[in-house]
């Protein structure tokens, strides 16, 4: 019975990892769902089952709707700018013939940093009187903006910092795909008299499309989950203009200590992530069958 021995051997090997995965993914999700159905305020020793009351309160909580709106703006703006910029950088890299390793190292530096380092770096760049961004703005005659303190600028400033650290990932993946396109494809287009713009539109972008879809999925999921950058850079302020759902959930869980309510917000983030993944995968399948 070779097959049975093989199965048993395989299960034995895989068991520890599967147990760990179950313990830190399935179990916490079940626990969060259970918590979200309770009113739990540990410092007052409160723990009651309240059914869907937390979710009902969610729908009436302006702070929740603000966080939802900030999250949607943050995710869409950040991902859109990253994709556009990332494709442009990938095209530039693709034409690079020398010093590619140096170019890739420069590109990946902003991507590799801990989010907290990026936050601290941009905090200094955005400093209202001594920051580099302010110095550049003054040189351009744009006054002295208080990037992180002005509610009309703060979210855009946060998005710029997020784009800075994540665009290299998009560029790298698109660049790798471009390297995979055989040179004959372009030669044929040149023979047919296609210009550069036509080649880009008719050949390069369609070939990039599947990678772009996948990168957009990864980046959307990451942007939905993002926490460290905004937690340290803005803390959600000023006036909650940069408070995403992840920050709002964290604040409810660990600062105002409403575990049940925070768990309900966490569940919303979880559902958003799941829905996004499903949506993109469906789009990918439709794309593949076309």
């Amino acid at each position: 019975m070779i097959a049975r021995g093989e199965r048993r051997f395989g299960l034995l090997l895989a068991a520890p990892a599967l147990l760990v995965l179950g313990a830190v993914t399935l179990y916490p999700v079940a626990h969060v769902l259970a918590l979200s159905l309770q009113r739990r305020v540990p410092i007052f020793g409160v723990a009651d089952w309240v059914g869907l009351a937390n979710y009902a309160f969610l729908t009436r909580d302006p702070a929740f709707w603000n966080a939802a709106r900030v999250t949607v703006v943050f995710v869409i703006a950040s991902v859109a700018v990253e994709l556009a910029l990332g494709v442009a950088v990938a095209l530039a890299l693709h034409r690079q013939q020398r010093w590619r390793a140096i170019a890739l190292a420069l590109l990946l530096l902003p991507w590799c940093l801990p989010g907290v380092v990026t936050a601290r770096t941009f905090e200094w760049i955005y400093h209202p009187t001594s920051g580099l961004a302010g110095a550049v703005a003054r040189r351009l005659g744009a006054g002295a903006p208080n990037w992180l303190g002005d509610p009309s600028l703060s979210l855009a400033a946060l998005i710029a910092a997020d784009v800075w650290r994540t665009m290299p990932f998009v560029a790298l993946l698109c660049y790798a795909r471009l390297l995979g396109i055989p040179g004959e494809v372009y030669e044929a287009a040149t023979v047919d008299g296609a210009g550069r713009a036509a080649t880009l539109r008719a050949i390069t972008l369609p070939l990039l499309a599947p990678v772009l879809l996948m990168v957009a999925l990864f980046r959307t999921l990451d942007a939905l989950r993002a926490f460290d950058l905004m937690f340290v850079l803005t803390g959600g302020g000023p006036a909650a203009t940069t408070e995403t759902l992840a920050l709002f959930a964290y604040r409810s869980l660990f600062q105002t200590l409403h575990l049940g309510y925070g768990a309900a917000v966490s569940t919303v983030v979880f559902v958003l992530v799941g829905a996004t993944a499903t949506l993109y995968l469906a789009a990918g399948r439709a794309d593949a069958t076309r």
Partner: protein, 271 residues
Amino acid sequence: MTRERRVAADVAVLAALALYATPLLWQLLTSLTPDATIAAGAWPRALSLEHYRVVVAQSPLPRALGNSAGVALIATALAAGLGVLAAYPLARLALPGRRLIMLAVVLSTAFPAIATVAPLYLVVRALGLRDTWAALVLADASFALPLMIWLLVGFLRELPPALEEAAFVDGAGRVAALRHVILPALAPGAAAAALLTFLFTWNEFLFAYTFTATEASRTAPVALALFPGVFEVPWGDIAAASILAALPPIVIVIVLQRHLVRGLLAGSLKD
């Protein structure tokens, strides 16, 4: 295009990328600029290592760097060990429910940490692991495990199927074949996966911030987030601390770039 124009175009791309990296370079310059010059908003005439001396001698950062290194190394080793054991049967043996398990693995890579941090915190507290390396190692290793398994399964499938069969013919058992034939062939892929795991674990903030309470277990990102400033913000010291906390990732990008890129592409460009 002439050779000169070709070189000029290449230099222009490098210059644009260096310009893009300006925020990090600016932080580096700030970390080397004396306080008086920073306060005056002037361009530094002379650079100094004073901020690094202050951070190393007087701040909690050195200890935090040690915690980060310990946690990231142990978590990476743990994830790699469990990952190899699970990936091998998933990639090369007739494991029951293989497709379902792989689907679960892919889905778990998308898990938002914010959705699991509260229950994990309750568990950590109940086990008395608050403010210990163990809490961070367990959380980080298990959070990294899905990506680790996913990458390793991909690399294992690239190996020729005849590999262990040849070993069996030579009379080797399954464990011996895994140890002496599969593992050496998997080594480059495993190194790439481990590098990526180390990088993500080093950078991790949410668990590290939530599960720690004192300098005994705070990691570098947490220490940097909480960097002390009594009367005014010590921008130069913070810049120096930032550079130190970013050093391992920077070294990886510059020195081990080929392996890192291999891991990144393998994790993303396979369906």
